[in-house]
Amino acid sequence: MMKRGLLTVMALALIAAGPALAQDRDFYKVGVITSLSGDLATGGNVTKRGYDLWAQAVNDEGGIEIDGKKYKVQLFYTDAQSKPDQGASGAERLATQEKVDFVLGPYSSGVTLASAPVLEKYKIPMVTGSAESPLIWEQKFKYTFGTIPPVNYTGATPIETIRSLEPTPKTAVILGSNDTFSKATAEAFQAAAEEKGIKVLKFNIVPTGQDLTPFMSAVKVLRPDLVAFGGHDEELINLVKSLRQINYTPKALLMHYGVTEPAFVESLGADAEGVFGGSVWTETVHAEAEILWKDAMTYAKAAEDAFGVAADYTQAGSSTAGIAFQAALMKIGAAPPLSDDERDALVQALEEIDLKTFYGRLKFATEGQYYHANIGITPLTVQIQNGKTVIVGPEKDAEADPIYPLKPWDQR
């Protein structure tokens, strides 16, 4: 008895609570799928900030201008809880209940891979501002785009920069944490190092969250010039601490995502100095935009004002995902709500986009292994100098000389 009653009540409640179908509305409904809780909550919340900031900026300007009329945007969130199934449910909810016009996508590859097919089914375009795993783009989803190039596209740049330094690093130990993104990062580092003639003495994928001190002891025996690590924020911090605790300073220490996160410098203080990282954007990058924020610095200031925390490239990439839609909508001149045909036209417009933004050039690949990932942007090598993220490569974008070799831990 009870079960039937409850189920009916639940079903009714869900149907009743679902918002009424909006017919003619004068704003865009934008779905946001991201992980606000669970293991990936840190990254998920950074993504959300980027999306929020974009929506706020657009609405402050009065909205997106279509045929002389401005339409505001409204965000509809769904929390993927770091779980692919919740991402898929969320995508389905956004598509059928909220009837969103387009979607700003999730933080991790797992959630993206599970939500993308659902959005394909409803022909809803999605631009994700933070999924960096090569896996997504290999699937060639028609309706899914990404503003951050995959790590196999960006990973080689920091290795190239480090290779060009004097005295030339000859040997490397490369390791990655055993999650999709970190593993791909480590593999990208490995491929680049071998190509550039740096001898890889040791390459290992290690369990997530593992205390790596003993591993670093084994590394210390090999005395590599370069230690490169693919991992997430907390792991990066712990790795630097481990190296310091066993008192081994390689000539160069390279990480990827996370170095640019405020928590990295805040946690490590002087020990963060000189750590290399890969990035696609910093607040000092040279970029003149034709749309919304006029350059990187303006964006950084807006972000700082809004959240009190410095923006990293994930946040910038997420805001750019919004800009991609904004530009594509203006191009096809489609007012809300979007019809199926207009959404297909939107995908077409996204494919044709070639735009200067505060984030750099935005141009999605339309074929090959980077299909629908942004390849307009230049990958950067960054380094922590005086507590700030500074671009040190490639040469034409560099703002400072790299600190090399690293200063020993005990002399800081």
């Binding site: 009870m2 079960k3 199934d85 599970a114």
Partner: protein, 333 residues
């Protein structure tokens, strides 16, 4: 009595069968499908915890094994989905036999931790193997027909419910299991083989979980170790079962529906308050345990843990049963 129960069951099934006729909203179907799945996970977990008295902290192993078997057979060996489901169940059952024979000798917390360790070990294996895709997981071809999965999940869960109900509440097997839970040496003295009965119960809880996992893989289209072998799967089934009331079948069903409905409602319409959700769910669980130690169903019906069936089943007189139960309870903590 029996007829009334059958009637209620049929009525519920009838309602569930026609829901898709009234709402074609794929989202509603999707979450109700997921709700079925959790009902299934909660009742199968309860087979061990409530009926047999063993806390299985590694229930996710069976779910994950099922999911991976389906994914691997479909993607690497080209099997059809329908053919993979029996294989998923079989694999989970086999795992239960292999794991059960040694671990079911352990008691209380030791069994709980051993099954947990095993689950984490299986997760690590899935993370390092090539055939499972390691941390990248596996993608299955999308087959996005909500009604199909709705009916499939409903059928499998209902069949599981009936099977468990028959075996545990109607067949001699249930009495043996309960006798074992209350007094293992006593049951042995009566000529029962505890190892056999416990292993059978373990397999009984594992096989459906494996099938659910298989359906999940095809339904969600993407699996990775973090999503199908995670602690949270076991934890959630456990919370649902305890919240509803252990040692019955109806308790976990109610627990699963309520917890799932609350969780989903919060998730869907109060997304901005995810953290608040954790706090409320946590407080709700803690308060239930303090004030309704027998779970919702147990409190409503005054059911206190299988004494009655024990008396009937093994034919001991009332006084000695109560005695044994009390003593056993004290020793078990």
């Amino acid at each position: 009595m029996k007829n009334k129960k059958t009637l209620i069951f049929c009525a519920i099934m009838a309602v569930l069968l026609i829901i898709p006729l009234f709402t074609s909203d794929p989202f509603v179907l999707r979450i109700v499908t997921e709700c079925f799945m959790w009902v299934g996970m909660a009742i199968t977990w309860d087979v061990m915890a409530g009926y047999t008295g063993y806390l299985n902290f590694g229930h996710a192993s069976f779910f994950g094994i099922g999911a991976y078997v389906t994914a691997i057979l479909m993607m690497k060996y080209g099997w059809s989905f329908a053919a993979t489901l029996p294989a998923a169940g079989l694999a989970a059952g086999l795992a239960a036999v292999i794991a059960g024979l040694p671990t079911l000798r352990l008691r209380g917390a030791y069994f709980a931790i051993a099954t947990w360790a095993l689950q984490l070990a299986i997760m690590q294996v899935a993370l390092v193997l090539n055939i499972t895709g390691g941390p990248d997981g596996m993608r299955l071809p999308p087959f996005l027909h909500p009604e199909f999965f709705y009916y499939l999940m409903l059928m499998v869960v209902a069949a599981t419910f009936l099977l468990l109900w028959f075996l545990l509440e109607r067949a001699p097997f249930g009495l043996k299991v309960k006798a074992m839970r209350e007094d293992e040496s006593g049951a042995m003295a009566l000529g029962l083989n505890p190892t056999l009965i416990k292993t059978e119960a373990f397999v009984l809880s594992a096989v459906p979980a494996g099938v659910f996992g298989g359906i999940y893989a095809y339904w969600i289209t993407f699996i990775d170790p973090a999503s199908v072998l995670a602690d949270i799967i076991t934890d959630q089934a456990m919370v649902m079962a305890v919240f509803g009331g252990l040692g019955t079948l109806i308790g976990p069903v109610i627990g699963a529906v309520l917890v799932y409905a609350f969780k989903t409602y919060f998730w869907a319409y109060l997304s901005d308050y995810q953290v608040l959700y954790l706090i409320i769910l946590g407080a709700m669980i803690a308060l239930t345990v303090v004030f309704l130690p027998n779970g919702l169903w147990g409190t409503l019906t005054g059911y206190t843990g299988g004494k009655k069936s024990l008396k009937k089943g093994v034919g001991l007189d009332d006084a000695s049963v109560d005695d044994t139960v009390e003593k056993k309870g004290a020793e078990h903590v």
